[in-house]
């Protein structure tokens, strides 16, 4: 018994993931669509036979726009720093600005982002490789031809007729009643941890303001403690919001905070390394180094100024809208419970 005849697959446009850690691609076979998930050299396959595919739905998301804003802000900061600083820092800031410019160009060229779902009678699968509208359109057009070749065409009139005939609770036998990727009931989440996260971000921003005029180790200690609390809170919030009733806008805000924190950490780490190299005599004494960093005023160090402005803007831009969204969420919930 050997049915291992080589299937001829054709690659569909679109790819998701990070080059090394994870990637997801779609391939078209003779009678099925192959979804290939690759994690560090190990590939996992999902097959969707053309005869079983009920629908493919794609919807535009704002993720791309959020990323464009984040990259644009970073590009602006580094451009500003590159034009205001002298000596070695200017070169570093120019290189960073060029990097962010390249990233932004690639992002804009790839086009708006989207989420794509494929539905069969028994499951709904997110096609993560189809995450840009440009590629998704090309792939859906190509898939439409082969699926219609297998199943035939469904006109809107026939669709309307059949939908009217369908009972709402038709379940898995026949059609899926409601198009939702998750079959589980969403978990109820109060959003208290999200409120704490956004509040901590605002508090963090308030601790940054005095450092423009005063330099003291106590400010740095408080700021570090709050930053640590923010990191812990954002992780808990991300875990809690998964599969919960928290609205999409708040979930996106939490993810944005995560990205903001990651960038802050990377920049902060880069700054600490530079300081360690510049103060080699105390590089092995963490406390001494900490005290030296605390004594530097943002007015004397342009990179620190940029970092402070970034943290200040980011904390307020995420914290305040986050709290406003939460307030709306709580108000709506209260109204719903009264009704």
């Amino acid at each position: 018994m050997n049915h291992n005849t080589k299937e001829k697959y054709k690659r569909l446009p679109g790819k998701s993931g990070f080059i090394i850690l994870y990637s997801s691609k779609l391939w078209m076979g003779s009678d099925h669509l192959l979804l290939v998930h690759s994690v560090a050299g190990v590939e996992k396959y999902n097959r969707f036979y053309y005869r079983d595919i009920q629908s493919i739905i794609t919807s535009k998301t704002i993720t791309g726009k959020i990323w464009n804003v984040i990259i644009g802000v970073l590009l602006g900061i580094f451009l500003l720093l590159a034009t205001t600083t002298q000596s070695g820092w200017s070169g570093f800031n120019t290189v960073m600005a060029a990097g962010f410019f390249l990233w932004l160009t690639i992002h804009l060229w790839r086009g708006p982002t989207c989420n794509t779902f494929l539905q069969t009678a028994i499951h709904t699968k997110k096609l993560s490789s189809l995450n840009r509208t440009k590629n998704t359109k090309k792939s859906m057009d190509r898939l439409k031809i082969v699926i219609e070749k297998t199943q035939g065409k469904l006109s809107p009139e026939v669709f309307k007729e059949n939908v009217l005939k369908q009972p709402m609770d038709s379940g898995l036998r026949g059609t899926t009643a409601v198009y939702t990727p998750a079959k589980r009931e969403p978990r109820h989440e109060t959003g208290k941890i999200h409120a704490l996260l956004f509040a901590l971000l605002i508090i963090d921003a308030f601790f940054i303001i005095p450092t423009f005029f005063l330099t003291h180790v106590s400010f740095t200690i408080f700021s570090t403690i709050i930053s640590l609390a923010v990191i812990i809170t954002v992780i808990i919030a991300l875990v809690k919001q998964a599969g919960s009733t928290i609205p999409g806008a708040i979930q996106k805000m939490t993810w944005t905070s995560m990205v903001f924190i990651c960038i802050s950490l990377i920049l902060g780490y880069g700054f600490s390394l530079t300081m360690a190299f510049e103060n080699m005599e105390v590089a092995y004494n963490q406390w001494e180094l900490f005290k030296r960093v605390s004594k530097i005023s943002p007015l004397d160090n342009t990179f620190m100024m940029g970092l402070h402005i970034y943290s200040l803007c980011g904390s307020f831009l995420i914290g305040i809208p986050g709290l406003v969204l939460l307030k709306h969420y709580w108000r709506n919930k209260r109204r719903a419970s009264i009704e």
């Binding site: 299937e7 099925h32 290939v36 050299g41 190990v42 079983d52 629908s55 809107p156 059949n162 036998r173």
Partner: protein, 188 residues
């Protein structure tokens, strides 16, 4: 029923199979819905297998009291309607199907593969980018992996041997570099 993926509002017939993105009437989110006839197709429940009433009829290998309807195209065992599994336009018994999956004889049942060419390439590149010294160990490993797994199948989708070639070349250069380092150390 097909609903908006953002707000869950059922989509009307004007929004399906338009080939362009349209705004959802409820949430204004742009979406495109391609719907196919399989949406209205009933799932078949499967045949239970017909019970034998006379001795002259052939019975199923797995169910002695059920009437055989087809032989397995792989092992030849007689199968009843319940045991007959149609796969890749072939009629097979559950045992052959299971054997085909475990021994990776049926390509369409494979759901996981290790791509040694990718691993070899990662092993050749990353130690070099992080700290160069681990290449003293990884470079011979890459050469060994390239030689050992060269003929083993990689992914099920079309792919050339370029990863193996690149990995081998990088590893060979790393080994050459280490030889130069050792020679210089000895001669000094």
């Amino acid at each position: 029923m097909i609903s908006c993926t953002n707000c869950g509002t059922p989509l009307n017939s004007r929004m399906i199979n338009t080939n362009v993105m349209m705004a959802c009437p409820s949430c204004d989110g742009f979406l495109r819905a391609d719907v196919y006839p399989a949406l209205f197709k009933e799932l078949s429940g499967g045949e239970p297998g017909e019970t034998i009433l006379t001795d002259s009829l052939a019975s199923c290998f797995f169910h002695q009291d059920k009437k055989a309807v087809i032989p397995c195209e792989s092992c030849g065992r007689f199968l009843c309607a319940l045991c007959d599994i149609e796969f890749n336009n072939l009629h097979m018994c559950p045992l052959c199907l299971e054997k085909g999956k475990s021994k990776k004889k049926i390509l369409n049942l494979e759901n996981r593969r290790t791509c040694y060419d990718t691993i070899a390439l990662y092993l050749a590149i990353f130690p070099m980018l992080l700290f160069f010294w681990p290449t003293i160990l990884t470079a011979p490993m890459v050469v060994f992996m390239t030689a050992w797994y060269w003929k083993k199948p990689t992914t099920i989708v079309p792919r050339t041997k370029i990863r193996y070639i690149l990995a081998f070349l990088i590893a060979a250069l790393q080994i050459l570099g280490w030889i130069v380092v050792f020679v210089l150390m000895i001669t000094r």
